[in-house]
Amino acid sequence: MSRTPEPGSADAGTDKTPSGAATGKSGTVPVNLTVNGLTRTITVEPRMTLLDALRENLALTGTKKACDRGECGACTVHIDGRRVLSCMTLAAMLEGKKITTIEGLEKNSMLHPLQSAFIEHDGFQCGFCTSGQIMSGVAMIEEAKAGWPSAATADLRRDFTLTDLSRAEIRERMSGNLCRCACYPNIVDAVVEAVARS
């Protein structure tokens, strides 16, 4: 009944036996990923988060480390098209997954419409939360297109369509991304614009 890919459906390649050799405490694990369309192999300790792997192993520093506790949304990336928090994800559990970061949003040297809308509507001041806001916003619009409701949806029994995506809906759906500069009104403006263009 779900309309997005099932999590865990891809074959993970870490050790398949519950007590195998590759599970040692100080051991490292090779992980094959697609990051922004490129196949990459990284070697990580099991305790390394996707956030640290992106920043430290792959030098993709657009994804920001802020709270590191799943409380702020600054580290938001897409795994197989779904928005997730990279600080609460272990890189070693992502064998075969497709990761998209802020660096991977532009196509043919053109910014993603939501990136352009953030510039147009001045959706940031310091910019530290911005990549997380944009990654969250892009996937959020896809969730709304797929008919996903939110806590702001009046009647859950009705089908949700993109025309129901009011400012109140956007604020609720983006509440996992905090902005200490409080650019929220402009961020909502940018998302409204991107929805209109999509």
Binding site: M1, S2, R3, T4, E6, P7, G8, S9, A12, T14, D15, K16, T17, P18, S19, G20, A22, T23, G24, K25, S26, G27, V29, E45, P46, R47, D68, R69, G70, G73, T76, R82, R83, V84, L85, M88, T89, L90, A92, M93, S136, A139, M140, E143, A146, G147, W148, P149, S150, A151, T153, L156, R157, D159, E172, R173, M174, S175, G176, N177
Partner: protein, 331 residues
């Protein structure tokens, strides 16, 4: 985080056996609670077993007769978006949508949601102060400390923490069944028996043993479910744990309540069913505000607020009333 090993399970029986014989092993699914606990050093498993590859455990199935079976590995976001869950059990979909954020709901599994541990700041404190849940016998810093967010029902001298799950409150109200596979096979656990009160062993949040794996949650059909509602009151408008919440469901005859279900979150170590209120509400009109209020009050005679949370006793009754009225408007 501390160093740990990681392996992947592809067979439930092997995963259960590994968990039963290795006290230092923890299952990991979405990881949204476990990784936070490890970062806060509240739990330090030596080995993690990734159960995301276990077959058929992410399914959401509509059951004949009106119930639903939700696989333990189904993600919160997928369950909340499921059209049958939304139609048959609005209270379950709402409890999910009022929890966490879009990102976390895409990650967090249903099994993990009901296993999540308390948000008590003393329990989560990275430095590790006095907390019997974290460190048995060390005492409870919250009992005479900052306890605004803590329990008003069922607490003990050893722990005053509350359960943070919104979903659990809705599932308690719906009399859901937790399907657990263990060393000796599968067994159903009624939801209201799944979580424990702290007593003298607050380190145990629930009745599961080593070698137990939650495989699914079944929500059976009931006559009240279609007129149900989850109301959550918190310090922020979104992305925050509950101060107090209520899952309410009613069956009515005109405006008169035939039967009601009420469960509360944010008030105890487990989802708190208002059984006395449920009995007292039978036969009362949804328009009789004083009658509704008096019936709800019968479930609060045994409330024991702490130094900083007396406001919850009044707040909880008002939240229960409003949740009941909103549910009633859907009847």
């Amino acid at each position: 985080m501390h160093p740990f090993g990681l392996s992947r399970a592809d067979d439930p029986a092997k995963a259960i056996a590994a968990h039963a014989q290795d006290p230092e092993l923890a299952f990991i699914a979405g990881g949204t609670d476990l990784i936070g606990l490890m970062k806060d050093r509240a739990t330090l498993p030596e080995r993690l077993l990734d159960i995301n590859g276990l077959p058929k455990m992410a399914r959401i199935e509509a059951l004949p007769g009106g119930g639903v079976r939700i696989g333990a590995l189904a993600r919160m976001g997928d369950v909340a978006a499921d059209t049958e869950v939304r139609r048959r059990f609005p209270v379950v979909a709402e409890a999910l949508l009022f929890a966490a954020s879009g990102q976390l709901r895409n990650m967090a599994s249903i099994g993990g949601n009901i296993m999540q541990r308390t948000r008590c700041a003393y329990f989560r404190d990275e430095i590790g102060g006095r907390c019997n849940k974290r460190n048995r016998g060390s005492g409870c810093a919250a009992l005479h400390g900052l306890n605004r967010n803590h329990a008003i029902f069922g607490w003990s001298e050893s722990c005053v923490a509350t359960n943070p799950s919104d979903l659990a409150v809705a599932l308690a109200a719906m009399d859901a069944i937790v399907i657990v596979q263990g060393k000796t096979g599968e067994r159903p656990i009624p939801f209201t028996d799944f979580h424990r009160l702290p007593g003298s062993t607050p380190e145990r949040d629930n009745v599961l043993d080593r070698g137990d794996l939650i495989v699914a949650i079944e929500v059976p059909a009931n006559v009240e479910a279609s007129a149900s509602h989850y109301l959550k009151v918190r310090d922020r408008a979104s992305y925050e744990f509950a101060l107090v919440s209520t899952a309410a469901a009613v069956e009515t005859d005109g405006r008169r309540i035939r039967s009601a279900r009420l469960a509360m979150g944010g008030v105890a170590h487990k989802p708190w069913r208002l059984t006395a209120a449920e009995t007292g509400l039978r036969g009362i009109s949804l328009d009789d505000i004083d009658g509704l209020r008096s019936a709800i009050a019968t479930s609060f005679t045994d409330a024991r607020p702490l130094a900083h949370n007396a406001f919850k006793v009044e707040l909880a009754q008002r939240v229960a009333l409003r949740a009941l009225q909103t549910a009633g408007a859907r009847a």
